[in-house]
Structure formats: C-alpha cells, structure tokens
C-alpha cells in the first residue's frame, strides 16, 4: 500500500537541500490553494499567477515554518493574504452577493442542469456553482471547512478571527448557500429542501 510522505518530512528534506521534494508539496496542495485564490479573484489567469506566487513565497519562507500548525493551514494563510494583497494592488472589485453577472451565469447553469437531469453529479455541480455565488468570505469558509480539512480553530487562524466567530459565520454561510440553491436551482433542490 502506498502511503504519502507527511508534509513535515518533505519540508525537512527541502530544508536539507533537496528542493526537488518541494514539487510533491506543490502537487499535493495546488488544487486547494488555487481554489482558495479563485474564490477571491475570478480570473483564472490571475488566480494561477497568485497561486504560483503563494508557493514561491512559502518556499522562500520555509525556514520560518515552525511546524506548530499544519503546513496546509500555513499555506492557506499565505494564500488568503496574497489574494487580498493582489486585490488591493489591482483594486479588483470583489464580487458581491447581488452581482448581476453571477445571477445571469446561474440561470445558464440552472438551465444546463435541468437539461442534464437531476443526477448526483449534477447536484454536486449545483452545490459547487451555488458556493461560487456566495460572498468571498462565505465561500472561503465553506471551502476551508469541507475541502481543506481544516478545523474551526485552524480556519480561525487562517482568516484571523475567533473560532466562535468562524462557527457562527459557517452556520450563516450554509444558510445563505441554502437560499442561493433555493433561489437559483429551485427545480433541483425541491426534493432536498
């Protein structure tokens, strides 16, 4: 059975001079870092540039990683701050809850899903699209919790908030996600809600 080398072991190897091992860390975390960045920046090109920069920054600061938290938690913190810095520099407008373009996109997705029928895959796609319609903060918290395997305490560290505030925000994000699904994917969710 193939077992993954733990992140900390790979980091030790990289710090010892075996920089090629860093590729494994990149492979392991790239999708998640890219997703987190894409929550902030809607352009895939910009998100790829920032995500790449996140890994370069993490590499250069690797000696500062103390191992008191998970490498992923540290990495996602860099991803969050890098995305915000990029937005500040470029003054890119963050999509709001009432962005008309999102609603227009939702209608297209909605009709596509209807055409494809209500299968499990479509439902997953529907939830994925509904998450994209949430505010950046809500989408990020749901992504970190469900896909990043981060605890509430770790998410609190990443977003620089208290764990209790994160818990409340997660609950509200899920409520808003439900509202989005009911509003934009009414036909698909009628047997869920």
């Amino acid at each position: 059975m193939h077992t993954q080398t733990p992140d900390l072991d790979l980091i030790q190897l990289v710090l010892a001079g075996n920089s090629a091992m860093y590729a494994q860390l990149v492979e392991r975390h790239q999708n998640f870092v890219f997703t987190i960045v894409l929550r902030y920046l809607k352009s895939r090109e910009d998100a790829e540039e920032v995500a790449q920069d996140v890994f370069v920054k993490a590499y250069r600061s690797l000696a500062d990683f103390k191992g008191t938290s998970k490498f992923s938690t540290w990495l996602y913190t860099i991803a969050t701050t890098s995305s915000l810095s990029f937005l500040r520099k470029k003054k890119v407008e963050v999509h709001s809850l009432d962005d008309e373009r999102i609603f227009a996109a939702a209608d297209i997705i909605d009709s596509g899903l209807r055409a494809n029928g209500i299968e499990q895959k479509s439902r997953i796609a529907m939830v994925t699209e509904a998450i994209k319609m949430l505010s950046v903060d809500d989408a990020q918290i749901i992504t970190l919790f469900y896909k990043g395997e981060q605890t509430l305490e770790e998410i609190a560290q990443i977003v620089n908030k208290e764990p209790n505030a994160v818990k409340v925000q997660l609950h509200r994000a899920r409520t808003r996600l439900k509202e989005k699904m009911q509003k934009h994917f009414a036909a698909e969710v009628k047997d869920i809600y």
Partner: protein, 181 residues
C-alpha cells in the same frame, strides 16, 4: 435520558438547524438528546435528512484545477531563489542588548555624576523628606562643564548611530518579510 423538555419546547426553525449543524459537524454537546429527537420527532428527522444531504454534497464538491504546467512553473520559479534564513537568525539580539546597555549606562552615569556633585556637608537632614536638601545641589555645575558636554555629545552621537543601525536592520527585515509574505 430526559428529553421531554427538548421535545416539548417550541423551537424556532433556525434553532433546530443550528443544533443539527452542530450535531452533524460533531461539535454538539447534546449528541444523545439530538439522536433521540432525530429518531422520534418527524420534524427533526426531516430537517436532519435535508441538512445531511447538503453536508454530504458540500463534501463532494470539486476543487478547481490549475493548468498542467503549474508545478513545473513553480519549480522553475523557485530555482531562482534560495530559502531565506529563519527570521530570528538575522535579527541580531546583540544589537538590541547593546542599545539597552547603552541607555542604562547613560542613565546610571548621569545619576552617579549628579550624586557625586551633591555637597553632603551642606545638606540639612531636616530640610527634606528624602534626607537630602535638593536645593543644595548645584545643577549648573553639572552641565556647565566642557568635559560633561563633550561626553554628552559623544553619547548622543553614538546613540543616534546605534539607533540608525537598529532602524536600518528593522527596515531590511520588514522589507524582506513584506516581499516574502
């Protein structure tokens, strides 16, 4: 277990959801009570089924994928860089201690000099609560002295040099940090 109060009390819809989410997330402090409610109360059961399905769907959502060249691009990029030494290694604590020692030495020096200038024989112990007649201290003698003035100037210059060096180091460290973060 007594769940009658839980079952009989009228609960807000949102309250049921909040408690069920806590239960689903494994954060609930009333696990067994909720288990019974989900089993016996149709409203709770329906809501639980609904939330559990959403919970499972959220867990199955797919992550975005960057381009296939992503890892190669990162590796090409990092080949141009070295791993920076840990921050604590390049902030020299000797400088911090040097500055502290410098200022303490100045304070102690001035106090010592001031005390040495007091005319103890002229002091009247009854004239002051401290037992020292502060009026008897000739302050003008302390600063009207070319040696003392020279000493102060040298100290100030040294202090400014040390401060400049310290601030330069901090600025470099800050820039480095800003570049890396």
């Amino acid at each position: 277990m007594n769940n009658s109060s839980l079952q009989n009390s009228p609960l807000e819809h949102g309250d049921i959801e909040a408690r069920l989410w806590e239960y689903i997330d494994g954060l609930s402090t009333e696990t067994s009570a909720i288990e019974i409610l989900v089993r016996e109360n149709s409203e709770w059961k329906a809501k639980y089924t609904e939330l559990l399905e959403v919970h499972q769907l959220m867990g199955k959502t797919e992550l975005e994928h960057p381009s296939l060249r992503f890892t190669k691009n990162v590796m090409d990029e990092i080949a141009r860089f070295q791993i920076a030494p840990a921050t604590k290694k390049y902030i020299n604590t000797k400088i911090i201690w040097g500055l502290a020692a410098f200022f303490i030495a100045i304070i102690v020096g001035f106090l010592g000099y001031g005390v040495s200038q007091i005319d103890w024989s002229a002091a009247d112990s009854s004239s002051s609560a401290l037992g020292v007649d502060l009026g008897a201290v000739d302050y003008s003698r302390m600063f009207d002295n070319s040696i003392v003035n020279g000493f102060m100037m040298v100290n100030i210059l040294l202090g400014l040099l040390l401060l400049d060096r310290f601030l330069n180091m901090k600025r470099k460290a800050y820039r480095e940090e800003g570049y890396r973060a």
